[in-house]
């Protein structure tokens, strides 16, 4: 199948398509054999993610060599690099300025399906963006799975958990290296499926299965846009792709080239980009479809961390980045000061940040924070800050994953499986120093503390947005930075500072769990199951066959029971000697520490303040912004890689995205602008962030502190503030609008009305016709048949008919022969008439 390509781009680059295949195989193995394995399938999950990571690193290594080789074909370093990577071709001596150097993506495709003789492929499209995402996804997945080893230990669906987690990563990897839009949809929907399985992991509880349903369903609403957008883009690009590249309108490379070719109709691009962005609104939790994301916290914490850092929600941002030319041209990104994406992104980043202030659940604060950061990324993309937004995907993955895992660690060891910051946390910095330190680092990185990861990416987004003329959103970026710093300070204060409360103070309070604590209760299942498991092995071996049901029924029937049972059994015996909060074990802390470390250093991949050697990400990831000879873009047939040696494009001005390329040339990426790093702007941002820390910390210690003062209970006294608070607590009433109005209307009155029409009108007509027919039949039978024709030929055939039907007669009405004959006769008569008339 795999045709041998002479000038190979290097083994890893050529075989990058294996990266998603490994986890998918892992998934199948876990599902089929996981339960019988010593570690219940988790070893396969981790092994397959490590495998994917190794392949990704190899791919990245060779990609970087490919880029370096293309940029400086003559210096020593890249000569070595060439040797290792196995490039066969010498490079054009005319390698000119860096910006215009074309590094060919390694594209491969095999026939997946066909229609009208046109073959559509499944394959890989490896370029800088894909490589970055591959590394990111594989790396985060490995850490999350290691974390899960301990975190979900003893869960009743441990094996399924790892299976779904592995497939989840497989879905994201499939999407990331998709060669075409259909493959992208495949990965996209696979993730949707896995998110459904994982969010609803503890589906015994109705709240969890509802959250899972809501997540899948909301994303699916957005997916309408994906289907429609893909159709628009496919039919728009198809002729161009077939003529120029011998590929088809699904190919991402061809779509990008088409969008920038100047041949595409602006209307088509506009509608295509709007439709595609609607899909991103659903997937990436943008306003107004963001409401599923906080609910998705019903899933186990590792799921939240994976879902919010590198997979699922990033998919929407990735889609925009992937077919960026479509959005660039369709929404006229250069030269406008507001457009659909910027607007949605801007709104999202603000409203989510406000919501984060009123959450008591630590995971929900982080969830809204993710929504807000995704809004920022979208805003960046909408304003032409491509590399900044992509960079923010990268850095955000580390610190957000770290924060979620810290929250998991707190719940696991500090707050007795509660996520309620007000009830069960506080003062945990002493009991959990490592978790606290990592949390602080990740928070600092998220909020844009100088020189940490978030500082660089966030500043670059804001700076680029400002430079490109999106002034309103430039200031909005600062507001967002302020809010982020403030709500994270609040969460930090509530969790780690102040006085310990509830479980953090060592109290056990099974009876305190009210309705709003489903979350906490769900987590309690995990724990209860440890007991159930031990219980079962101790005395109930005979019931192995019912293991699931037993374990579950014994302890999971009701979260309260679980908790009570738990307390009765004595909780601490399996948590070591500590009573109350304590630091988590190594399996939890190691991934957290690694991520905290990366939250510090990841930013230096693109830290323009320190000169060009610190702008590696741009060098490796950003596609060429200069026109390329169309011949170089040709796909070399199915199953073959493009195998174009990197070569310098024609020298000249950067026209892509502003002027249509000349005949024989094509553009694949617009000439996005990069503002020079400005210490002044960064300084302003830093001051804003520090101000937010200070103000927020001061307010928190007043409001949540022990000393009585006027600020406490202010929302209860001041009507205006109270109304604002309620408005936020109710999430702008969007959920009410969706669930109580839209969904309920469709699920009940509208569907009932449709069904009523079905039964009364359509079926009523049928029944009436049937009854009428029977009456006519009876009439004819009585007066015509019995009176007139009886004894003629009818009798003979009738006898034959009743003879065959006779055996079954007692069981059926027996009248069917008559009806049939009647209808049939009428029809035959009609036929005759028709024939005669027409002749």
């Amino acid at each position: 199948m795999l045709a041998h390509v002479n000038d190979s781009a290097g083994w890893f680059l050529e075989h990058a398509w294996l990266i998603p295949v490994v986890p998918v195989i892992g998934f199948v193995v876990i599902i089929l054999f996981g339960k019988r394995m010593p570690m219940k399938g988790s070893e396969v999950g981790i092994a397959s993610m490590v495998g994917a990571l190794v392949l990704s690193i190899g791919t990245a290594y060779q990609w970087i060599q490919r880029v370096d080789a293309a940029h400086g074909g003559h210096d020593e370093g890249s000569a070595i690099a060439r040797g290792i990577a196995g490039f066969g071709r010498s490079l054009s001596a005319a390698a000119s300025g860096e910006e215009s150097t074309y590094v060919a993506p390694v594209i491969k495709s095999w026939t997946w399906w066909q229609s009208g003789g046109l073959e559509f492929g499944l394959g890989q499209h490896i370029d800088g963006l894909a490589v970055m995402m591959l590394i990111l996804v594989a790396f985060i997945s490995v850490l999350v799975q290691i974390f899960s080893l301990e975190y979900v230990r003893g869960d009743r669906r441990y094996t399924h958990f790892f299976a779904a987690l592995t497939l989840f990563s497989g879905g994201m990897l499939t999407m990331v290296l998709a060669e075409n839009m259909v493959q992208l949809i495949l990965g996209w929907e696979l993730m949707g499926l896995c998110s459904f399985m994982l969010i609803g992991h503890w589906w015994e509880d109705k709240a969890n299965s509802r959250a899972a349903l809501k997540a899948f369903f909301t994303v699916r609403v957005g997916d309408v846009g994906l289907l429609v957008g893909t159709a628009i883009v496919f039919f728009g690009a198809n002729a161009f792709a077939v003529d120029n590249f011998g590929s088809n309108g699904f190919s991402i490379q061809a779509i990008n080239a088409w969008a920038m070719s100047g041949e595409a109709s602006h209307d088509v691009l506009l509608w295509g980009s709007v439709a595609l962005f609607i899909a991103c609104i659903g997937k990436s939790g943008q306003f107004p479809l963001h409401t599923w994301l906080p609910d998705a916290m019903a899933g186990p914490t590792p799921v939240s961390s994976l879902l919010h850092s590198s997979t699922m929600v990033v998919a929407g941002v990735f889609l925009v980045a992937r077919v960026y030319p479509v959005f660039w041209e369709g929404l006229s990104i250069p030269g406008s000061s507001v457009n659909f994406i910027v607007l949605i992104g801007g709104i999202t980043t603000l409203i989510a940040a406000f919501l984060a202030f009123v959450q008591n659940d630590i995971k929900k604060v982080l969830a809204y924070s993710t929504v807000s950061q995704l809004g920022l990324m979208m805003m960046g993309l909408g304003a032409g800050a491509w590399i900044a937004a992509v960079f923010h995907i990268f850095t955000h993955a580390f610190f957000k994953c770290c924060l979620f895992l810290c929250a998991g660690s707190v719940a696991h060891s500090g707050s007795h499986h509660s996520f309620d910051m007000k009830k069960d946390m506080g003062g945990l910095r002493k009991a959990m120093p490592v978790t606290f330190a990592c949390w602080m680092i990740a928070t600092a990185a998220l909020t844009g503390f100088p020189f940490l990861a978030g500082f660089w990416s966030k500043d670059e987004i804001i700076a680029t947005v400002g430079k490109n003329g999106y002034d309103v959103f430039f200031y909005l970026g600062f507001v967002s930075a302020f809010l982020t710093a403030a709500y994270m300070t609040r969460a930090t204060y509530l969790t780690f500072f102040g006085t310990p409360r509830g479980a953090a103070a060592g109290e056990h309070h099974g009876d305190e769990h009210g309705e709003e604590h489903e979350q906490a209760d769900d987590e309690a299942h995990v724990d209860a199951l440890v007991h159930a498991g031990a219980h079962a092995t101790a005395g109930h071996d005979a019931h192995d066959a019912h293991g699931h049901a037993l374990a579950h029924d014994a302890h999971g029937h009701d979260a309260h029971d679980a908790h009570d049972a738990h307390d009765a059994h004595g909780h601490d015996d399996h948590h070591g000697a500590h009573h109350g909060p304590h630091e988590s074990g190594k399996l939890l802390l190691v991934p957290i520490c690694i991520l905290a470390f990366l939250s510090i250093v990841a930013g230096f991949l693109q830290a323009p303040a320190f000169g060009e050697s610190f702008e590696k990400l741009k060098l490796w990831v950003e596609p060429t912004t200069a026109p390329i000879a169309t011949d170089d873009l040709l796909v070399g047939g199915f199953g073959q890689s493009v195998a174009v040696a990197p070569r310098a494009a024609a020298e000249g001005e950067k026209v892509c995205g502003y002027v249509a390329p000349s005949p024989g040339q094509a553009c694949i990426f617009p000439a996005v602008t990069h503002p020079p790093f400005s210490w002044a702007k960064a300084g302003v941002a830093t001051i804003i962030v520090f101000a937010a820390y200070a103000i927020s910390f001061a307010l928190c210690s007043l409001v949540y502190g022990t000393r009585r003062n006027k600020l406490q209970g202010l929302t209860g006294r001041n009507k205006l503030l109270g109304a604002g608070h309620r408005f936020l607590v109710n999430k702008y009433y969007l959920d009410d609008l969706y669930e109580k109005v839209v969904v309920r209307a469709v699920a009940y009155p509208i569907s009932q009305a449709a069904y009523w029409i079905n039964q009364r009108v359509l079926d009523g007509t049928v029944d009436a016709v049937g009854k009428g027919g029977r009456r006519t039949g009876e009439w004819i039978y009585r007066y015509v048949d019995q009176g007139a024709i009886d004894g003629l030929a009818v009798n003979g055939s009738g006898k034959a008919a009743s003879g065959t039907g006779g055996a079954l007669r007692p069981l059926q009405s027996g009248k069917v022969n008559q009806y049939g004959a009647l209808l049939f006769g009428a029809a035959a008569l009609g036929a005759l008439v028709l024939v005669i008339v027409n002749i």
């Binding site: 003789g117 579950h552 699920a747």
Partner: protein
Amino acid sequence: MDPISDQNWLLSLGTFLPLAGVLVMLLIPKKEELLHKQIALVTALGTLGVGIATLAAFDYDQSARLQFFVDTEWISVINSGYTVGLDGISLPMYFLSMVITVLVMIYSWNHIPSPGNPKAFLILMLVLQTGMAGTFIAQDLILFFVFFEVVLLPMYFMIGVWGGEQRQYASLKFFLYTMFGSALMLVAFLALYYKTGAESFSIPYLITEGINIDKDVAMWIFAGMFIGFAVKVPMFPFHTWLPDAHTQAPTQGSVILAAILLKLGTYGFIRIAIPVLPQAAVEWAPVIGVLAVIGIIYGALGCLAQTDMKRLIAFSSVAHMGFVMLGISTLTEMGINAALFGMVAHGLITGMLFFCAGSIKERYHTLEIKRLSGLLVQMPKLGWILGFCAMASLGLPGLAGFWGEFPAILSAYQPAPQLDVTLFRTLMVIAALGTVLAAAYLLWLYQRTAFGEPNPEFTGHGHAHSVGAAGNDEHHDDLHDVNVYEWVAWTPLLIAIVVFGVYPQLMFDVMDPAVTELVKVFHQ
């Protein structure tokens, strides 16, 4: 294109072999139940063997041409011949009918519905198989009509004798409704025959001659066929027989009905109505498209209103067949390919869903959604299979359902040049919204039946600890997970759903050349 006549006995053998089994079974007394089951299964397996031989002998490079072609005299008075042949359009359905029959036979091994009598039940099934296979190979209108009608009687008896409580109403409705459609279809066939010079009923012949028919007349002839096929599909508003028939039919009947019988209608459109009367098809396409999309939304809304699981699945067929018809109405390669793929995929997936429903009914004695809960707790395997099928049914990429749905939606963006683009693009968007509703009713069903705690009604005493002991409780003897017969019957379907989902080219490769040939007329 000229047909190929090599190995032309294969099709007739594959079609009529089940009747040989029927003959043998007729001679054996009713009491020998096991023997009947054995003979029926062996016959079905033998038929499937012939089917596999057909697959092997089929020339895939020539899939646009009719193969194994036979054309001999039959009823010479009306110039109707025994004309049979197989091309890329009919091959998948022809083979699927054989597979489904075998699987249903296996399932029947220990699932003969009340009031028993495997002899009659299995004989009907074999007759049904002949009818179904015959319909897919017939290349003569009268022959097609005969096979089309042969299918009707066994199904009528299956529902009427082995069905649920309202079986008589349902079976009668099914029979009369379809008969009504068939009658109009026959009228149309006769008119077609006379208008093309009363020379032949052969479909290849009519394809070359049909284009010369006066457009006004062609419109009427198409209308007759339209109603005949639309009832069978069933398209909105001719669908009301379907929920009743499906709900009342025994599991085996539902599976066959969903997997094969509904496709006789869509197949009729693709095989006869459109190629023979292309000029009328262009005029009718908007009507078909609109009704198809109404069916998608309407069927989905109907699903949301259901309280009975089997009835819900039945309504989902209306929605899914809407996608198939939408694909057909675009008169494009992509649309008709999607329709053909969708036919097979729907057969596999909805067939599986009906199997699941049957097994749930057998265990709980009810399919009322409200009473079912916690299926995943009590029968994890069945719960997983149900979830898998629900996901496949809502069109998840990587599973077969996607390839019927996605290209169909896509194709509506750019229908055949003669059609109104604005209308079809509107239809596309509405159809895409239908996928959301599909997710809604399927997942909602799954949430209510599979998630949560089991209904105390079915857990013995409603006490938490009793589940472990449920096996000993006599009242709940039948609450067992998937058994061997079910595994054997279901595994091929489950595998096929994955295989065709992961590598759809397996089927597109076969169908596409024939479809390309078919729609050529619209590109001239």
